[in-house]
């Protein structure tokens, strides 16, 4: 450790060396404190030093290197530079990265000038002392105007002094004097702000809210920052400025309504003035202040809990029924006909054409991309989120993939809408009979039979009747299908608004973007949990399909399975004479292998993500 306080030439106050040399005639030979003072006899060393914190140390514990007092007296031997770090080890270590040391080669004594008379003073206002010291050079008008500076000067012992943000011995080099604001600086200072502003005891003492930090962390700015990619988002200092931190009522404040346009405009451009009604620290549980956000939160929460509660219960009851049934059949040695099918029953029948299978694969890929890029942002403070984002190559890349996958999904959605319209209004028939088609058995639109089927299923779950007979689409499949439409309205709509918020402000005010962010996030949670639990269980993990049903990838299943699972459809196909045209070859080995690999990998990934999401939701 070699950070030194002394100077070769000016090590002791300059004149003293001269004095030492002049009065050298009378130097005794051993260098005890009284020996030094024999020549260095100013009151500073004889009186003040004895009352100082260093009084217990002799002169030579700091001024080392004098081997021969005669030589020193004759000016031939000078003490080595004082090394404060030999005792103040941790400070010296911190000081190695101090801007003042690195850039201007400050030594300890450049700030601690009165080192020989320094005293312990328990009543000393350290904050004030620090400000006085720093402003000897940094005459910063900005700081004295800030809420912090004013509070310190009024005697507040919580308000930040220079060192609370910049460090005392560890003042970092961020080159903020050049108004450059690299990522580390933003991260560093934001953490400094959070340290006090999230401290509930300190904030309560000062009549401030400790929740501001949490509200900020709930926004896009806060989450990207939390994720460890602070470069492209606002940290505290970007909006509140570095020193001129004042309440928004103060006209000099950067967040005063009159200054907001310029303030936001430092990062955002091309926005309508109503963009400024965006809330940077929204509290969606505050009904008085943010009623729109509050009711959106209630609605989304209700939708999430309601949907999941209903379908989870449905799935559990269903699973119970099938498992018990399986158990009974296994015990009695009964094998379902679809398993032991022979002859005609083995014939493969097409359920999903190539087009729809490709679309499902695209849906799976884009959905996973969206979840793997979106959820790390939602749970930005977790370790896994940071790992996944690193794998994407950072928040920026992750965002690009998110938007790319969203585009795939939106295009798919438009295509499905087009297909649905073609189904309803086919060429040649036009509007004629479209209601029949909409409510007919080949439609994915719910009808009265679905209600009866639901009732039938519930009775069946409780052993109060036979399982209902289904046609081409069951009610839970219709729900899956239509939920995507709602989801795309909620997630897609809010996502498009958030894609380029500045442009969106020409359509909606800034506060709507707060709502969009909330809807986007909550609907995503609903969609992910729905797909990874309910859809997975209904379609793949139900005992007679476990571990997966590859039907959506291979497109075909046995005729016997069609008869068993969709008896009404089978009867219709036979009656209408269409069965023959749906008969297909048995799927090839490569197709089966790839389907199984892709399908199982997706299932496992989905389950893994469910665990991460639930864990973050409940414990993080």
């Amino acid at each position: 450790m070699t950070v030194t306080a002394g100077k070769r030439r000016h090590g002791l106050p300059a004149g003293l060396l001269l004095l030492a040399a002049l009065s050298a005639l009378c130097l005794p030979s051993a260098a005890a404190a009284q020996d030094c003072r024999f020549c260095h006899d100013e009151p500073l060393y004889r009186v003040d030093f004895n009352g100082s914190v260093h009084a217990g140390n002799g002169c030579t514990s700091c001024h080392v290197g004098i081997t021969n007092i005669e030589k020193h007296r004759d000016g031939k031997e000078r003490p080595a530079p004082v090394n404060c770090g030999s005792c103040h080890e941790n400070i010296a270590k911190e000081y190695l990265n101090n801007f003042h040391y690195i850039q201007e080669d400050f030594r300890c004594s450049d700030c601690h000038r009165n080192i020989h008379a320094i005293r312990k003073d328990p009543d000393k206002n350290v904050k004030l002392a620090i400000i006085r010291k720093c402003t000897e050079c940094h005459g910063n008008d900005d700081y004295t105007a800030s809420g912090h500076g004013e509070a310190v000067l009024k005697g507040n012992r919580d308000a930040a002094d220079c060192s609370d943000c910049h460090g005392l011995h560890s003042t970092r080099v961020f080159h903020t004097s050049l108004e450059q604001y690299p990522a580390e600086a933003r991260e560093f200072y934001t953490q400094k702000c959070k340290r006090c502003h999230a401290d509930s005891v300190m904030m309560a003492r000062n009549n401030l809210s400790d929740r501001m930090v949490a509200y900020y962390e709930g926004t896009y700015h806060g989450k990207v920052q939390e994720l460890g990619y602070p470069a492209p988002v606002a940290g505290c200092g970007d909006c509140h400025t570095k020193h001129n931190i004042l309440p928004k009522e103060d006209p000099r404040s950067s967040i005063h309504p009159a200054n907001l346009e310029a303030n936001c405009g430092r990062c955002h451009s091309g926005f309508h003035p109503r963009f400024l009604s965006y809330q940077a620290h929204p509290d969606y549980t505050d009904r008085q202040k943010y009623p729109a956000l509050y009711f959106t939160f209630l609605f989304m929460g209700g939708l999430l809990v309601g949907t999941l509660a209903f379908f989870w219960l449905h799935t559990i009851l269903w699973w119970r029924k099938v498992y018990w049934e399986h158990h009974r059949m296994e015990k009695e040695g009964i094998v379902p006909p679809s398993v032991v099918a022979t002859g005609e029953g083995l014939q493969q029948v097409e359920r999903f054409s190539v087009k729809y299978r490709i679309m499902h694969v695209l849906l799976v890929l884009s959905f996973f991309t969206l979840v793997l890029t979106g959820f790390p942002l939602k749970y930005a403070d977790t370790e896994w989120a940071q790992t996944i984002t690193r794998l994407w190559g950072g928040a920026h890349m992750s965002g690009l993939f998110h938007r790319g996958a969203a585009l795939v999904l939106i295009i798919g959605m438009i295509y499905v809408t087009w297909e649905s319209l073609k189904f309803l209004f086919p060429k040649g028939k036009g509007k004629q009979g479209w209601i029949d088609r909409l409510l007919g058995p080949d439609s994915l639109f719910p009808n009265l039979k679905d209600l009866q089927d639901l009732k039938g299923m519930i009775l069946w779950f409780f052993n109060r009747g036979e399982a209902p007979k289904f046609d081409r689409w069951t009610y839970w499949e219709k729900f899956d299908f239509l939920a995507v439409f709602w989801g795309m309205f909620a997630i897609g709509g809010s996502g498009i608004l958030l894609w380029k918020p500045e442009w969106s402000s020409w359509i909606v005010p800034g506060w709507v973007l707060n709502i969009a962010a909330l809807v986007h996030s909550e609907e995503a949670l609903l969609a992910a949990l729905f797909i990874f639990t309910i859809h997975f269980f209904n379609t793949h993990f139900i005992p007679n399909k476990f571990p997966m049903d590859r039907l959506i990838f291979t497109g075909t299943y046995r005729l016997e399975e069609l008869k068993e699972q969709r008896p009404l459809e089978y009867e219709r196909l036979v009656a209408e004479g269409r069965l023959e045209s749906l008969k297909r070859e048995h799927p090839s080995i490569p197709l089966k292998l790839i389907s199984a690999t892709f399908g199982l990998a997706s299932l496992l990934l989905g389950l893994f993500l469910t665990v991460l999401i639930l864990w973050s939701l409940l414990f993080a």
Binding site: M1, R8, R9, F106, C137, H138, S177, I358, L362, S588
Partner: protein
């Protein structure tokens, strides 16, 4: 069957396409060509200096800065001096030379190294990240003539502009190199390059408050402390010429 194999292709192709996109994204920009000198880190330099006590290691800052603090055993030779007169370097073109400067982002050592390479020196080295790297490694510094640190107030560019407009009794002293000064300076400024300040300061009149101007605002503090020690009243331009130009450009 044809349909099935098509399908297979698509299913294989999808994840593959994803991987290709990822791979493309992961590829960085092409690497920059290496400099014509060798970049060494602080521990390497220390080992080299321990092996060769007479190793010519040059501090390329101004003389007053260098004498204030430098790597022990190094010599003061400002980069401007080297560019003007290459014969200041040792005559043996195959001698190992090391250049360093004050800050991590400093280009002075590289300019000096460039001049040496151009003059035919074959073993030119530059200390990576300069003196900060040496300090942060925890190695000692050497002081020959310490400048007592003063309290040099800084003014921001808009404030200086106002002061000039109010015709305050100021003398703008531009410490940058002659070349930078010629390329552009604040009206009325005089050029006293920092590398010559120790020799030329006595020509600066004592009756006015000086405003020191450098490139980026990093070097005026020590220069100001030096001039304060010599009896001048000194201010410094915060952020240097860069801040001034940014202010001008913002309009």
């Amino acid at each position: 069957m044809a349909r099935v194999s098509n399908n297979t292709l698509i299913r294989l192709g999808m994840p593959a396409a994803w991987i290709v996109i990822l791979a493309l994204v992961a590829c960085g920009k092409p690497a920059e060509p290496p400099p014509p000198w060798k970049v060494i880190d602080a521990p390497t330099l220390r080992a080299m200096m321990a092996d060769d006590k007479k190793l010519p290691v040059f501090n390329t800052m101004s003389e007053i800065e260098c004498l204030d603090h430098r790597i022990p055993g190094s010599q003061c030779l400002a980069c401007e001096e080297i560019e003007k007169d290459i014969s200041l370097l040792p005559p043996d073109k195959n001698r190992v030379l090391v250049f360093y400067c004050e800050s991590a982002g400093c280009y002075r050592s590289c300019r000096a190294a460039g001049a040496a390479v151009k003059a035919g020196y074959t073993q030119v080295h530059v200390l990576d990240k300069g003196m900060p790297a040496w300090k942060q490694a925890g190695y000692a510094m050497e002081t020959v003539e310490r400048i007592p640190r003063g309290s040099i107030p800084s003014v921001r560019a808009p404030a200086l502009k106002r002061m000039i407009a109010e015709q305050k009794d100021l003398l703008l002293v531009d410490l940058r190199s002659e070349r930078s000064f010629e390329e552009g300076h604040i009206d009325g400024a005089v050029n006293v390059p920092l590398y010559r300040l120790g020799r030329d300061y006595s020509g600066i009149p004592l009756d006015r408050t000086l405003v020191l101007i450098d490139d980026r605002g990093f070097r005026t503090f020590l220069a100001g402390s030096y001039l304060e020690m010599k009896g001048y009243r000194v201010l410094r331009l915060f952020g240097g010429m860069q801040a001034w130009q940014e202010m001008q450009a913002a309009k």
